[in-house]
Subunit: 516 residues, 2 copies
């Protein structure tokens, strides 16, 4: 019943980093041959990105199959549950009225005349943004519109209890991904350049490190302590790698965690900043989930910039050379505006000449999309109590917060009841990263089958889950995990409980079939 076709793995372009043969023309004219993968940049072949990798590509195929024949597709399910990627508006999350009203006016400023359609504060903000940007259709300053950067600086200053941010240190970027790309690109001096990344990590980091032909150095998050960081382990890794000639450039921190859903404590953050101060390593703090914090999870988000600012007041000499890049995005939080590609990066402590190089890279890309820049302004400067849009804004954002919390709890509880699965209680972000407690001793046939297909055990599990239930999630092996452990990353964004029940039923059948 759970048998898997060999072609499930063979027919999809997952192994695009392997060389493919293809037939050559045998005509009389000797045309020059076409490019093969071996003719290409090896770094681009080696980069992997599991979030949109083999399992999601297969899910897309199945989705097309359902669409092409909704009544007779022959699959044991009628819809695909996209739990592989944090893409809230692909599912049922509605965009916030506040954002979209202002953006509609920015696109078509004649709507300013329609005072019956829009609340006063929407019209006022649209006028403000039009005054600052001119037109969404004009290239902005490569670093982003100055008026919007000033708003972002004010947001950071308020968020961090008055520790001041400077607009000249803010870059408006296309999501947070563009910021990661700039940072890793400039810091990859040569193949000895190393980057400390959490394991498990968001695979954008390993992919970008591979594209730059530099060295990923994974530090393990401690699953048994809510995926916390271990500064001693990081120090050991630094020493070991430095001894081998690796030039460690940056320490990547994802807080709240992706894929772990955990939140770092202030103490954890102090330890990481101490390491950066001691070794002159750049801190890259990916804080795109800073709004996604669950009260029930017991964690509290503290920005790395705030902690660094406090430490600088305590001991300027020790911390004055710390270089921190903090990232944020309009794609997550309660915004979920992934397709609009808004983001920012704040640089603290970098030498002006280094910032100039980042500015040059931003210039080569001309500018980030201006509507995404405006969206960032709307996100970090929302309606305040008493203003006409506040009630709707508050109701919509509260509902999204509550929905996320309810769904994360429901999924967490479902995993807690499944045989041989364990899961940390979610504190934040949009994901759970449950552990599949499968061992060779307890699931011998599973390991044999995975070996036969040349895929990790967790990938085999995910493929079977997909083919049997239509639920698409990502194997833990795509994020990195302690050797011989197996996980999967799933969002808890899909609505309803039916899919969770589908998963639980599949899982018990799976255990029944494979467990010795």
């Amino acid at each position: 019943m759970l048998s898997l076709n060999r072609l499930s793995f063979r027919s999809i372009p997952g192994k695009i980093y392997a060389v493919r043969s293809f037939s050559m023309s045998t005509r009389t004219f000797t045309a020059a041959s076409k490019l093969k993968p071996t003719d290409l940049n090896q770094n681009t072949l080696e980069a992997k990105y599991a979030v949109r990798g083999r399992i999601p590509i297969k899910a897309d195929e199945l989705h097309q199959k359902i669409l092409s024949d909704p009544t007779d597709h022959g699959l044991p399910f009628d819809n695909i549950i996209s739990a592989n990627i944090g893409n809230p508006q692909q599912l049922d999350q509605k965009p916030l009225t506040w954002y979209r009203q202002v953006l509609s006016i920015l696109q078509y400023p004649k709507l300013l005349d329609h005072t019956d359609v829009f609340p006063e504060d929407v019209i006022a903000r649209a006028k403000y943004l039009l005054d600052h940007t001119g037109s969404l259709g004009a290239y902005s300053h490569s670093q982003g519109n100055l008026g919007i950067r000033k708003s972002v600086a004010k947001f950071i200053t308020n968020r961090d209890d008055g520790h001041v941010a400077d607009p000249s240190n803010i870059f408006l970027t296309s999501g947070a991904s563009a910021a990661v790309s700039y940072l890793l690109q400039i810091l990859s001096k040569d193949t000895k350049s190393g980057f400390l990344i959490p394991i498990p990590q968001y695979p954008l980091y390993t992919a970008t490190i591979a594209l730059n032909n530099s060295k990923p150095i994974g530090y393990f998050l401690d699953e048994s302590h809510h995926w916390s960081t271990n500064p001693e382990q990081i120090r050991s890794l630094i020493k070991e790698n430095q001894a081998e000639g690796v030039d460690i450039k940056a320490l990547v921190v994802i807080n709240p965690g992706n894929p772990t859903g955990s939140i770092l404590s202030r103490d954890d953050i102090v330890d990481l900043i101490d390491i950066a101060a001691e070794y002159g390593i750049v801190l890259i703090s990916d804080e795109v989930y800073q709004e996604n914090v669950f009260e029930s999870g017991g964690g509290k988000f503290v920005s790395m910039k705030k902690v660094l600012s406090e430490l600088l007041l305590e001991n300027e000499a020790k911390y004055s050379n710390v270089q921190l890049a903090s990232l944020h995005s309009t794609s997550k939080g309660v915004s979920g505006e992934c397709g609009q590609r808004g983001g920012y990066m704040e640089l603290v402590g970098f030498a002006p000449a280094v910032k100039d190089v980042i500015f040059k890279l931003a210039s080569i890309n001309l500018c980030s999309v201006v509507s995404g820049q405006a969206l960032m302004e709307l996100m970090i400067n929302p309606p305040q109590p008493g203003s006409p849009s506040y009630e709707v804004y508050h109701a919509e954002t509260s509902k999204i917060h509550n929905d996320l919390q309810t769904r994360s709890t429901a999924l967490y509880e479902a995993f807690s009841e499944m045989t041989d699965i364990s899961c940390n209680k979610p504190q934040g972000a949009m994901y759970l990263f449950p552990k599949l407690n499968f061992t060779k001793a307890t699931y011998p046939e599973l390991f044999l089958e995975a070996n036969e297909f040349e895929v990790p055990v967790d990938e085999l599990y995910c493929m079977k889950l997909l083919e049997r239930t239509g639920i698409c999630c990502v194997p833990g092996s795509g994020f990195g995990q302690v050797p011989d452990t197996f996980h999967l990353r799933t969002t808890f964004l899909p609505p309803g409980k039916e899919w969770v029940d589908r998963w639980a039923k599949f899982h018990e059948e799976f255990v029944h079939e494979y467990k010795k």
Copy 2:
């Protein structure tokens, strides 16, 4: 009067590729030192991008000076004329009503209820795009929304007289720049990988080649024959470079030309395709100005895809292995929607495994901005005669076409009358690339002064033009030019004639001061 402060060159971050020293802390705690440019990826230091380089950065400074004290800024002009970059909506070009009405509904779909505000065809198209994209806030397929790719394929098929385009070969990209970045990145196998680029070229190409540490090979466009290509010269360059071990990966063609404003004939294009067929070199055809063609210029745009399709019908054996990437954008034409970051790339003849690698890079970037994808659909599938929006659309686009033609002619005529300047008659695109006929013999002091500042003669001219008149254009040295010739690139987008007169007056004073 025309004296130039040494600091004009020294105070601005133009030399960011040179090493800067900065003072180190001398406190008792030995903090690790900060990153210096020498600690960074050398490729990122070496890349240059003149369009937003030293002259435009200085222009920005002057602009800020005027803003900060409009009545007493001490400059001999009251506004900056941004002729350095094709950014129509930063100047006086208005966005097309058709685009912006549909996009406003996509941002705020409740506007669909306001049938009094929007014409029927706007509402119908908005519904169509909402059906296809779901929400602008959701990540799309990494290659771009399929419904929109189908529209693009239909546009190409119609444009090319029925030669069919396949949606699976279309990638929706963030402007054309993202497409250039993907292509050059995958093709840069190692430092021996070479790219044939036109000289003069759009500096995105040299910048991206530098970032990938591969080799630019300039082929000269023939200024005396309307900047046409010379296939014999290209063949010689290929042979010479191959003999030296260079692995030539691609031939870049910009048609209509940037910065030259010239249009290639069908015969020119056949020659280039023949070269690609013979040597197995990828063709990258940058056709973002395909809509910007002036009747008075005598040129006619023919797409490389169309010519290749015709050649394939004539002799399939000869051309079946040609690999062509054609680029288009919503930033230019009569759209001028630079800030919205829409674009597409069509791939023809590439092996599936190579396309898969490009798809993976697009996946790592998640997706291009979805509103930009929708804008591309609106651009290539505009209102037709008889539909409610047609008249306004036709009036607006005709006005922009006429304005561009009028302005290009006016500027061309002005250059024709200036002493020691010559200029080809514009055929298309948004630029003129006039030649400064300055020689050491006729302008000895100018060459001495340029030598003293360590800048090319054209850059000195542009800096003086900026500081004296507020007109910002880009020195020809930023685009490449035949050695010992000097040019500048200027858009003809700024409205009115006053700035042209300002330039003419400056020029004659300049000649008066420097000419022997």
